[in-house]
Symmetry: C2
C-alpha cells in the first residue's frame, strides 16, 4: 500500500477536485503493474494500472492494492469496479472508503457482488485531507498560512512589503499551494505585497482560483501583477464591479463577505480547499469564525518590533481554539510549524 | 575535553557569577581523576580534580584537560596555576582563554614560565556564554523569553492570565532561569501573572535576582506571591519607595529606566546575565534598544485571536534586527525556538 501511496503522490496538484489515487497490482508476491490517477478528467488509477500490463490476462487471480475505494458510477470515466471485476482480479485491498456520496461503499458492494474479495485496511486518509473533509463537512478545508518574525509580526510598520522568510520556505509555500483549489487574500495584501499567488513549481491544468476580498472591487488596482496572469480570479466585493475586466476575473457581491459566507460560496462551487494567505485582519476573521482548520506558519529569525503588524489582528475570538501540533520542520533559518484544529482531527 | 565539559555542567546554576569549569587529568591514555567547580566560593575545577587523586604523585607527568584557562590570581581561592605547576603536571590542554581581565592569558604565561606546556583547543565557549559576553562587552547578556500562541500572542484579551504552554515547556523555563543571574518583569506582568520567578528544580545558593520594572514602586501589590519568598528582589521605580518593605527588597530610582540604564545598573553590580520574562511592552523596549541578545520563545498550538496581546508590543524598532537560528526543540505540543543576535555570534 505504501507503494500505491507513492504512485498517488505523483499527481500532486494535477487532479483538481478529484482525489489522489494510486494502485499496485500484485500476484505471487510480484508486482505486475503500478498506476495512478494522472489528471482531472483522465483515467482512474485502477484502469491506469491495468493498462500497464503486457498481457491483460495477467490480472486474473491477482490482488489490487488501491489507496481509495474504486468508483462505481459513470462519470467522466466508466466505473472502475466493472473493469476490475471484468479483469478477473481476485481481491482488492482498499486504503479508505470513498466519502463521496456517489461511491461511499457502493464500489465495495459492487465488487463483492461480482465475486471480488475486498479488504479495507486504512492509513491512506492523509493523501486527500481536503477531499475527505469536504465530503464529510460539506465545506472546504481551510488552511491559514503566514510567515512571521520571531516576535509574531508579518510586516514591519509602514506600507511596504517586508520579506520575512528565506528561499527554502518560499518554495515550501509553493508546495502548499499545490494542495489547494483556492487562495484568498485581502485587498490590503494585494496592495502592499502585490503577489502573483501562482504555482510556479509545476505546470497545473487547473491552478488554484485566486480570490481577493475587498469592500469595493472598483477600488482595486487592476494593474497589479496578479491581473496580468492567466487563471481564474474571483473578487468578493460589497459593491458591483462597474468597470470592464479581463475574462478570467469574476466578481461576486454580498452585503458582507464573512468567512462562513466565503466558505459557502466555495462549497457551492464544489471547491474542497482554501488557503488564506493574509493579511492579518482576514486571518483574524477566519480564526474568530473558527474556520481555520489548519495553520501553517513560517517563523523567521528576525524581530520586527512593537509597532509592526501582528500575524492575526483585528477581530476578537469568541472562544479559545485548541489545535494539535502536526509537525515542525526547519527550512534553513526558518521554522515551519503546522497545527490542525482538534475538531478536524476527530472528524 | 568533552568529558571535562560534562563535569563542568554538573554545577549548572550553582556557580553564580563564576564560570562553569570542568577538568580531567589523564596519563598514559588513562583518566586519573575528574573534577569541577562546584559552587561560587568553593575550590576551582583544577584543585578539585587534584584532590580526587589517591596519591598526589600520580599527577607528575600527567596532562590536564580543563575547559577554561587556569586562574593566576589570589581571589577566594589561591591561584590554580601554582597548584598545577607544583603538582608536576606536564601539559595543560585548555578549552578557552579566560576573558576576565584578571586572568586573560596570565594563567597560561604562568604555566609556561614554570615549565608546563599549554595548548588552547577551543570549543568550550558555550559553557559560559554570559560570562564570556560580559567580560567582552562590559554588560550582561540579555535573553528575552516568552510563550506565545501560534498567532503570536502571549495573553488573551482581558486582564487575567492565560496559560499558554504545557508542563514540559514550563520545566524548560526553569532550566533557562538556572543560567541567569537576574530575571526582569514589568509591573503589569506582576499584576496579571503574579509569578514567583523562582528556580524550583534545583536548590540554588544564589538564586537569580528578581527585578520588577515599575513607574511607581508604591503602587505595587506587596501581597503578591513573589514578595512572600526569600531571595533578592529589586524594584526599578521612578519614585522613591515610601513604605517599609522586607529586607530582601531593594528599590532603585531613576527618572526613566530605559533598557540601557537597566543593563548598566546590572553591570555595575557585576551581574552577567538577565532574563526578561515580559510583558509585551518591556519586550518591545528591549528589542527596540537592540538589547535582546537571545530570544527564547515557546510556541503553543492554540490561537488567541485578533484582540489578544502580542508578544512584543509598544515601542517601534529603530532598525530591523537580524538573528541567527540556534535551535528548534519540541516539548510535547509546544515548540521552542531560540535565536541569537547576529552581532553576538561574532563577538
Amino acid at each position: 500500500m505504501e507503494m500505491a501511496v507513492q504512485e498517488a503522490l505523483k499527481a500532486q496538484g494535477m487532479t483538481w477536485t478529484n482525489p489522489l489515487v494510486g494502485a499496485v497490482l500484485v500476484k505471487d508476491n510480484q508486482v505486475l503493474a503500478t498506476g495512478y490517477h494522472h489528471q482531472f478528467g483522465r483515467e482512474h488509477a485502477e484502469v491506469n494500472t491495468l493498462s500497464h500490463l503486457v498481457n491483460p490476462k495477467q490480472a486474473q487471480g491477482a490482488t489490487l492494492y488501491v489507496t481509495l475505494e474504486p468508483c462505481s458510477h459513470y462519470g467522466k470515466q466508466p466505473p472502475c469496479c466493472k473493469k476490475v471485476a471484468e479483469a478477473g482480479i481476485k481481491k482488492v485491498v482498499i486504503g479508505q472508503v470513498d466519502p463521496h456520496q456517489i461511491v461511499a461503499g457502493k464500489g465495495i458492494e459492487y465488487l463483492e457482488s461480482h465475486g471480488v474479495q475486498t479488504e479495507i485496511i486504512g492509513g491512506t486518509e492523509n493523501l486527500n485531507v481536503a477531499y475527505n473533509f469536504f465530503y464529510h463537512q460539506k465545506r472546504p478545508f481551510v488552511t491559514l498560512k503566514y510567515a512571521m518574525s520571531i516576535d509574531g509580526k508579518i510586516n514591519a510598520a509602514g506600507k511596504t512589503r517586508t520579506i520575512v522568510t528565506g528561499d527554502a520556505a518560499q518554495v515550501d509555500v509553493q508546495k502548499l499551494r499545490l494542495h489547494n483549489q483556492a487562495i484568498l487574500i485581502g485587498a490590503n495584501t494585494l496592495r502592499i505585497d502585490n503577489p502573483l499567488l501562482t504555482v510556479r513549481i509545476k505546470n497545473l491544468p487547473q491552478p488554484p482560483i485566486r480570490i481577493v476580498l475587498t469592500k469595493d472591487a472598483n477600488q482595486l488596482d487592476f494593474t497589479s501583477r496578479m491581473f496580468k496572469t492567466h487563471g481564474e480570479i474571483w473578487l468578493l466585493s460589497r459593491t458591483e464591479l462597474t468597470q470592464k475586466v479581463a475574462e478570467n476575473v469574476h466578481c461576486y457581491t454580498a452585503a458582507n463577505w464573512t468567512p462562513s459566507k466565503i466558505v459557502q460560496l466555495l462549497a457551492d462551487h464544489e471547491i474542497q480547499s482554501l488557503l488564506v494567505e493574509g493579511g492579518s485582519n482576514v486571518q483574524s476573521q477566519f480564526v474568530a469564525a473558527n474556520l481555520a482548520d489548519e495553520i501553517v506558519t513560517y517563523i523567521a529569525p528576525l524581530v520586527l518590533g512593537g509597532t509592526a503588524l501582528p500575524a492575526v489582528f483585528g477581530q476578537a475570538l469568541a472562544e479559545k481554539s485548541d489545535y494539535q501540533l502536526l509537525d515542525v520542520k526547519r527550512f534553513n533559518q526558518d521554522v515551519r510549524i503546522r497545527v490542525r484544529r482538534k475538531e478536524c482531527l476527530q472528524e
